[in-house]
Symmetry: C2
Subunit: 138 residues, 2 copies
DNA sequence: AAAAACATGCAACTTAAGTGCATTATTTCC
DNA sequence: GGAAATAATGCACTTAAGTTGCATGTTTTT
């Protein structure tokens, strides 16, 4: 409890009730969640607040937004190892078209790609799509 | 003119006036366009029609949709060499955060990526973000 | 030329994202 | 500790993109 509070403070986020709850919520999930997912998990609070909360988390480097091609933004906690270094976490994401879940594959880094002359890369986004381990076992 | 008509027919698309115009429009551009871009280029026609036209093109393998992270779907013509083979065109896209243009880098293929056991990949999406050659020259 | 199939245009709906502003809670500073 | 300042929350509303239903118009088929 104290631990989460300290973590939020480290990121310059005031640890309000909702924020603590949302952090726990995100922490329990091991998949990326949409704002709707979050909303469903919080009967208490209101969409706008949850929206602004996740945006605050994002701005302060606690979560990253994932664009998996479904057209809806998803969010996942930054892993601690990525939080330390200020290097951007260029891990890839896997989107399962069967269960619609998206997971971070944090230990799969995106390979370096050489571009035509004049292009400067600042960021990248790689999403693999297919069926995940859970769905393939069924 | 006839050439485009034949091309559409080859893709089982009836060559109506709007479709011919849209094909030309897409062909002239060398960047991916949004539905809004198309709309702006066609005072004549209506959003719904343009929407359905581009979707018809997509369904019949004439264009591919690109999700560059801006939250708006973009479309670009499939290159002829990709049309022949039925292998999915796994080229990558570059999105310029300065001019907001997105281009297909068709000769840059996405490298193979090995996944954890149980994951089966069917498709993938790689978008690099940064500044393009034109913007860097300015 | 009539029937069938398809394309187009208009209106309306859905969903997600985002903003303005009043109210409530938390810090800061004396 | 209490007042002022700052920030968080909740509600209503707006925007933007995508999408569908249906009536009308056009093309194809026979």
């Amino acid at each position: 409890m104290d631990k989460i509070e300290r973590l939020l403070r480290q990121h310059h986020i005031r640890p309000t009730a909702i924020r603590l709850l949302m952090y726990k919520f995100l922490h329990e999930k091991n998949v990326a969640v949409t704002l709707n997912d979050i909303e469903s998990g919080f009967d208490k609070s209101e969409r706008t607040t949850l929206y602004r909360t996740i945006k605050t988390f994002e701005k302060n480097g606690l979560v990253h937004q994932i664009d998996d091609g479904t057209g809806v933004a998803k969010y996942a906690l930054d892993e601690p190892e990525n939080q330390k270094g200020n290097s951007q976490d260029l891990h890839l994401h896997f989107h399962c078209t069967s269960c619609n879940e998206t997971v971070c594959l944090t230990d799969h880094k995106i390979p370096h790609i050489s571009l035509p002359k004049g292009f400067v890369t600042q960021d990248m986004n790689l999403v693999l799509k297919g069926t995940c381990d859970k769905c393939n076992r069924k």
